[in-house]
């Protein structure tokens, strides 16, 4: 094998570090997807576009001269209301229906969002400069941008905060009750409509955080939302709904896979590799289940 990565083992360390740090970010998005999937039983194709929108909010703040790191506080607040509005406009009509309807409807939303972002923010690839500098490890042979470390730290912080919130708060309990049995929760006085709206809002807020972090660590472009959707979908089907440690681990695994695919196959095949991995994971699970004469539900 004459790939560069096998000749220079130090690159493996580099790729692993990058992969894990980015993977934590993916896990945060996947957590939002698992939340809405588990509670509302919808698959949101617009998830990635919500992420990108959150990123553009942080980027706008950056353009106004405020440090983009403030985006991780401002962007989720705005995105919560965006999510709430989306729920009231569209999502509440697809909650109880066939999953394919929710897929198609959110696909429509994704197209609209992409195009509107293209109008408002332009079709250029943008990035917000955090100017955090880089950390050098192992005699300067491994470079880690501090913004990536920052983003992983913030992701973990928010994820832990959300877990505690879901356990302790009244709304969190209502959300979990609705996820278990919406009808029973309704009978016991939970306003499920409000719970659904809040869930979608929280999911959008999580996307907002992730987007703000992506705006300083990676790049933003109006049409790159779909890969984020697919990544989070992949993480959720590997980890299962409501299994947070597994979401974190498979997020990191995906990050590792991507970085290594990037080094071995080349950057032009990176997105292709992600989508192909999705197909492979689904097919693998299908064959594993078919031995027991079951199928993915």
């Amino acid at each position: 094998m004459d790939f560069l990565i096998f000749k220079a083992p130090i690159l493996m360390v580099q790729a692993s570090m990058d992969g894990i740090l980015i993977g934590i970010l993916f896990a945060l998005i996947a957590y939002g997807m698992a939340l809405q999937w588990g509670v509302m039983n919808i698959i949101n194709i617009a998830q990635g576009d919500l992420v990108i929108l959150g990123g553009y909010i942080a980027y706008t703040i950056y353009l106004w001269g405020i440090h983009p790191a403030w985006g991780v506080i401002i962007s989720p607040i705005i995105m919560f209301f965006v999510g709430w509005a989306l729920y009231k406009l569209v999502i509440n009509k697809v909650v109880d229906r066939d999953l394919f309807i929710s897929i198609l409807a959110t696909f429509g939303i994704a197209i609209v969002m992409q195009q509107l972002m293209n109008f408002i923010f332009g079709a250029d690839v943008v990035v917000a400069q955090s100017e955090y500098g880089t950390t050098m490890l192992f005699d300067n042979s491994v470079t880690l941008p501090n913004s990536k470390i920052f983003s992983a730290f913030i992701s973990v912080l928010y994820a832990v905060a959300l877990v505690i919130y879901m356990k302790k708060s009244r709304l969190g309990r209502a959300i979990r009750a609705t996820a278990q049995n919406a009808r029973a929760a309704k009978i016991l006085g939970v306003d499920t409509e409000k719970v659904y709206a809040a869930t979608f809002g929280i999911n959008a807020a999580l996307c907002g955080i992730a987007g703000a972090l992506i705006s300083i660590t990676l790049t933003l472009h109006p049409y790159v939302g779909l890969p984020y959707t697919v990544r989070s979908f992949m993480i959720v089907i590997v980890a299962g709904l409501g299994n947070l440690p597994a979401v974190a681990v498979s997020g990191m695994g995906l990050g590792l896979f991507e970085e290594f695919a990037d080094y071995i196959l080349g950057t032009e095949f990176r997105i292709g590799a992600v989508f192909l991995l999705l197909v492979l994971i689904l097919v693998y699970r299908r064959f594993k289940l078919s031995r027991k004469r079951e199928y993915l539900k």
Partner: protein, 352 residues
């Protein structure tokens, strides 16, 4: 036995189809698009409407057909790598005979290879159900586009110029007519095939799979076999449609023309749903309406067309999931051969 009314309808449509390029000679390209869109909607309907396997991945076969036709057409006579290397500059020129031989063989290959591929991956993919199948096929379509964009021999990111129409034919109208009649032939072939399926046992099996796959299996139907055959039928016609479009457009780009999930991939789902899933005429009507709407409004709302498209998807999916035919069926059930027991209807109303 074809009824007299049907006979008049079909012969009228065929005459209209044959006369269309002469009647509306300025719109030949649009008419070709229409034929291809109808074919795509009908084949999607076979898959999503009849079998209940909603796919976003038929664009895979469409794009494959496009690349295969062009590659065969070039590769039969000239070295393919040099052709794509040259890009826009034509170092090789097809003679008239070479062009038509090439496109004929190319279309044949573009029909067979996607069907074979559908059969090969069908066993793995069609074991997935419902939304997993939808997302998996979405992934397949996009992965194909991304991978095709990285392969050098078919032009990679800079695209693939398909052979130009032979210059020896001086008639300026010839190119448009050629592609129109090609697509019309494909449309008629597809329609006849789908109509045949609608009258056969195969359709009943597909419907059984859609309505309850477990029960169908329990009744002794080898569901996997039929699912694969159904998908192969879809892939066969999608491949030819892609090949024709490749020749018509004259330029293949991996993600914007061939594996164009954002446009064609969505259009075919939308058209079938707009017209009515699971009906013979639904996709035809849906595709025609959609095409008129698109061509009429696209230029008026320049720049906003994707916003309109997205809103259209949301509105159709939420408010008209049964489509036009479904709506008509609810309104005039007698015309669809449904007998309604008035007493039963009243009893149901009272129950509500």
């Amino acid at each position: 036995m074809m009824k007299q009314k049907d006979l008049i309808l079909y012969s009228g449509l065929i005459i209209l189809g044959l006369a269309a390029p002469y009647l509306f000679s300025a719109f030949k390209v649009q008419l070709t698009y229409l034929c291809v869109l109808i074919v795509l909607a009908m084949t999607w309907n076979l898959q999503g409407g009849e079998m209940g396997y909603n796919t976003f991945g038929n664009i895979l076969f469409y794009g494959l057909g496009m690349y295969l036709t062009a590659s065969v057409q070039v590769g039969m006579f000239f070295p393919l790598a040099e052709w794509t290397e040259a890009g826009g500059e034509k170092t090789f020129v097809h003679t008239t005979a070479q062009y038509f031989q090439g496109i004929g063989v190319g279309l044949l290959v573009s029909a067979i290879v996607p069907a074979v591929i559908a059969g090969a991956i069908g066993y793995a993919i069609l074991g997935l159900r419902g939304h997993y199948f939808a997302i998996c096929t979405l992934g397949l379509g996009i992965a194909a586009g991304e991978i095709a964009g990285g392969i050098e021999i078919i032009g990679a990111g800079q695209g693939f110029t398909t052979p130009p129409f032979p210059a020896e034919i001086v008639d300026l109208e010839a190119r448009g007519k050629f592609f129109y009649f090609l697509s019309l032939a494909l449309l008629i072939g597809t329609f006849v095939f789908v109509k045949y399926i609608y009258g056969s046992r195969f359709r009943l099996i597909l419907n059984a799979i859609r309505d309850n796959e477990d029960k169908a299996e329990a009744m002794g139907i080898q569901t996997m076999k039929y699912k694969i055959v159904g998908w192969m039928c879809s892939a066969f016609f999608c491949g030819i449609a892609g090949g024709i479009m490749g020749g018509l457009i004259g330029y293949i780009d991996s993600t914007d023309v061939a594996f164009d999930g954002r446009e064609m991939g969505v259009f075919m789902v939308l058209m079938a749903i707009l017209g009515g899933k699971g009906t013979l005429w639904g996709p035809v009507i849906g595709a025609t309406l959609f095409h008129f709407f698109k061509e009429g409004l696209w230029t008026l709302i320049l720049g906003w067309q994707y916003v309109a498209l997205g809103v259209l998807i949301v509105v159709i999916v939420i408010y008209f999931p049964e489509g036009l035919m479904g709506w008509l069926r609810e309104k005039y059930p007698e015309r669809f051969g449904e007998v309604i027991d008035e007493k039963d209807r009243k009893a149901q109303v009272e129950l509500k």
